[in-house]
Each structure stands twice: as structure tokens, then as C-alpha cells.
């Protein structure tokens, strides 16, 4: 263990969240729960990024009364990245959900293994 674990406890939390999402994805058979796991993963990454941008005592990067110095504002880049990331994860979630809806309409179940068994039976 390195020296900064306690100082970076925020990142540590985000990492643990990441792995929780990962485990969700691996362990649950229910599609909706898998999707939730995905979202947990993404959010943990955004938390990580947000913490990366943070500088103690500095404010949001919006220029107020003309102060433009590095030691006034936090690092704007991670915020931008988080924005992009959020949009991406929204789209992906929508796609996953619509796939789930289709599968449910067809097979009346959310269990992926069950669906694949059913497919084998159809021998399609």
C-alpha cells in the first residue's frame, strides 16, 4: 500500500464502487440489474474524475469579476470529461434498456440464461 491511500479515500471509494458494479454485471442474471451495475461503474468513474479535478479551496471554473488566475479555480478539464462521459453512458443505457424491452416482449423474462436456453430450444 502506498502512502496516499487515506488522502485519496475518495478515489478509493470510487474504485470500490467500480468493482461493485463489475460484480453486479458478473453475478446477476437479471438484465435490469446488469444495467444498474453498468451505471454504477460509470458513475464511479465520474466520481473519480471529479475528485481528480478538485483543488482544495478553489472555486468552480466560472470567471467572476475578472479574476483569471490558476489559484482561484479548480481544474476545468475533468468536468468537461465527466460531461462527455455522462452523455455517453446515457445513450448506452438507453440502448441496453431497449434491447431488454425487446427481449422481454419476446420471451416474457429478464433472465439471460433462460433466454439463451429458450433460443437453443427454438434452434433458430
Amino acid at each position: 500500500m502506498g502512502p496516499n491511500l487515506w488522502a485519496n479515500f475518495g478515489e478509493a471509494v470510487s474504485m470500490i464502487l467500480f468493482c461493485i458494479g463489475f460484480a453486479n454485471l458478473l453475478l446477476h442474471k437479471n438484465l435490469i440489474k446488469k444495467i444498474i451495475g453498468l451505471n454504477i461503474m460509470d458513475s464511479s468513474i465520474y466520481l473519480f474524475l471529479a475528485l481528480k479535478g478538485y483543488i482544495a479551496g478553489h472555486t468552480v471554473p466560472i470567471v467572476v469579476d475578472g479574476v483569471q488566475s490558476v489559484d482561484a479555480y479548480i481544474n476545468p478539464i475533468p468536468s468537461g470529461l465527466v460531461l462527455t462521459g455522462i452523455v455517453v453512458s446515457v445513450s448506452v443505457t438507453a440502448l441496453m434498456l431497449s434491447l431488454t424491452i425487446r427481449l422481454y416482449r419476446r420471451y416474457q423474462t429478464l433472465d439471460l440464461d433462460e433466454i439463451s436456453k429458450r433460443l437453443k430450444k427454438e434452434g433458430l
Binding site: G2, F18, G21, F22, L25, L31, K34, L38, M41, D42, I45, F48, L49, K52, I77, P78, L81, T84, G85, V88, S91, V92, L95, M96, L99, T100, R102, L103, R106, Y107, L112, I115, S116, R118, L119, E122, L124
Partner: protein, 496 residues
Amino acid sequence: MDFICNFPFFSIMISMFSGIVSAVLSRKAAKWLNLISIWVIWFLSAVLLYYIFGTGEIIVYKMGHFPAPWGNEIRAGLLEAGLALFFCSIMLLSMTGGRKKLMGEVVEEKHNLYYILVDLMLASLLALIYTNDLFTAYVFVEINTISACGLIMIRQNGRTIEAAVRYMIMSLLGSGLLLMGICMLYDITGHLLMSNIRDAVSSIYSAGTYPVPLTVTIILLTCGLAMKSALFPFHTWVADAYGYSTVSSAAILSSLVSKGYIILLIKIIYRVIGFEVYRASHIIDVVFVFGLAGMIMGSISAIRENDIRRMIAYSSVAQIGYIYMGIGLGTRYAMIASIFHILSHAATKSMLFIGAIGLTDVSKGSRHFEELTGSGYRHKIAGITFAVGSLSMVGIPLFSGFISKLLFAQAAVLNTRKMLPALIVLAISTILNAIYFMKTVIRIYTPTEEEGERITMKQEKVYALTCICFIALNIFIGMCSQPIVDWIGAGIDMFA
């Protein structure tokens, strides 16, 4: 700056533009727009390649008014231009070869959506090839993933949708890891542009600060991209996705999409981490081992299949294993072999899919070996295409597969530490390839009593033309390999 330097940017923008516009176009118009844009991009890339050969220097193109570390950048060297050209050709051939099927398998009013997907797929591939910014790469990886998912499930039966779900899950895990890696890299280097990251990485590597995060980052990036490109343990979705989607999608997915990710990985190795640093980290050995495992397991599961398209899908798992094996050998020569194999496999695999679809057409639409018996006589050109593809896969000289195997073997021989496992596995997997491909070829050329429907070349001119182009391309790669290898080498040197 010459006007030609705009061409990479133009090609990305053209494909995106056509993708956006196709939403309101009719089926025919969308088709033509797609065709034309691919042709234009093909032409642009060809000119660009010629230009770079002439000048011999890298084109660095800043997107916007701000120079490198602040603005966004795309970058075109020999390798990039050539890859763009090649990807366009394969995309074009796959589209033309599978169009007839597409008509049958996709709902009439969703065709233009299909073309949108293809356009954006091409755009994202081009962006992955050209971009010089890691985060942009991430965004376009996502576009690539979503459009690939769309390509899988555009033909809507239960199989494809389930396959799409599996694909999405696997590749979203991959993107998660990738994004996490990018964030960590950003945290320890403070840059997002590849070149700057490389300088920062080499400095912190020599200074010895942040050794652990660097290693973990490399692991994350590699795992993420390996997951997305269906390396062996993560290949569960492949069979369904390639086996049941409409044939153009299968061809494009198997030959371009996974290759796009591998290209990105190679870029990361050379342009972000730096080849030396990457080799110093032991992840490369892990990649090597998984590549070997993929080469064997893919072929074994392909042998067990009795469904021609699933078999081809599994064989591409094995081929991906070859590529990663080459990366894992960790020498410049092996890297050249890998990139060459990317090309030859892209050409061969799409060809196999196109050939297979012709064979299944004349076998009452069934893809099982029993019905395929003798289909090679019922549909001559498809049979020849499939046979040539199989011979290339088996590694008969004159075809592209032989050269890539040869290059791999030479690279392996040059690396004394990994020589024996690489060569032995290469031999075994080649023999396995021979077993299942030859089995299929003999099956389709075994004469049968019952008369199925026949399809002659005159009935399907476009299809036949596509097949001939594929064969020509394959033999071209197989016979004139030396200039290609030189080109790849020069491109890699430009990379670094």
C-alpha cells in the same frame, strides 16, 4: 500546409455528414449516399497515401484554432492512410456483397437506418485510426460499439438481439476499464494528447515516480481493448453475433470492428505508452499467453461447430489470437507481422462470410453441413470464393494467409525466449485450421444426388464481381507482400 493535409479531416467529416443526412433520406438515396461517400473517402485516402509516400513526413492537423496541448489534433502517417484505404475497400466489398441479403433480412423502412449505422461505423473507424487524442479515441470507441451493436441486431430475431446484449455487456465492461485507464493516465501525466502523454510517461518512467499506477494503467487499457476485440476468454458473444446477423454486418464486424480496437491498442502501445515502457511491463507476456490460448481454443470450438457461419466466427477468434500473439512477442518485426495479419485476416474473413452466404442461398437457406453438401457446384463463384478463403486460412502459398504465418514464424524465431511455444502453437493451430476448413471445402464439393436450385454468375452480377474482387485482393496481398511489409515497417517507424 498543402490542401491534401485536410484529407483525413475531410474523410471523417464526410462519413459523419452522410450518416447525419441519411436519417431523412429514402432507402435508395441513403444507399447511394453511403456508396458515394465510401468511394470518395477511398479516393481521398489513396491520394493521401501517395502524398505521404512522396513527402515522407507525418501530417499533424490541429482541429480548431489552438495548438497541440490545448486544442485537439488528428495525425496521419503512412500506416494510418494505408489502413484507411484498406478499411474503405473492405467496407465497400462487404456492403456490395451482402446487399441482396440485406434486402431480404431487414425491414424495408429501416434500411436507411442501416446505412446510417454503416456510415457512422466508418467514421468512428477513421477517427480511431487518425486521432491523436486519447479521450477522443474513447468517444469514438463508444460510437463504434453502439453502431456495431446496431449492425448486429438490425436483423431482428431472438438470436441477434441476445447476441447484441451479450456483446454490449462485454464491450461495456471493456469501455469501463478503458475509461478508467485513461483517467488514471490523465491523472499521472496531466495530458490527453497522445504525443504529450508519451513524453510525460517517458519522463516519469525514467524518473521512477508513479511506477504502480503506470503499470495498472497499462493493464487497464490493454484489458479493456482486448475485451472489446474478442480476445479468447471474452469471445462468448462472437458466435451468435457473427453467425446470425445479416451477412454484411458479419463481414464488417469480423473484419473491421475488432481490428479497429486492435489498431487503437497498437497506437496506444507506440504513441501513448511507448514501446519500450510497454515491453518492460510484463503485461505483454500475459497478452502473449492469452493469444496462444485463443489460437488453440478458437480452432477447437470451430471444429466442434456444424454450422458454417458459426464456424467462421470461431475461426476469427483464433485469428484474433494470432494477432495478440504477435503483439505479445514484443518485437518490431512481430508487430509488423500482426499488422499484416490484420490486413490479410480482414480480407480473408469477409471473403469467407460472403462466400458462405452464397452457399447457404443454394442450400435451402440452411447453414448446416448436411444441407451444404455439393453446394459448390450449385453456386460456382461462391464455392470458389469460399475455397480460396479456406486455402488462404490454411496457409497455402500464393494466398495471404501463408505470408502472415510466415512472418509470425520468422518473428517468433527471432525472439528466442518465446520461440518454442509460439512456433508449436502456430503449427498446431494451423493444422486445426486445415482440419475444419478442408472438411468444409470437401463437403461443399462432394457431389450429391438431389438437385437444389442453381445460381449462375449471370443472375448475380454484383455478387460475382465482389467475389472476384475479394479473390484478387487476397492473391494480391499474398503475392506482392514485400511492398506491403515495407510500407507497414515505414508506418510503424513513423508512429514512434
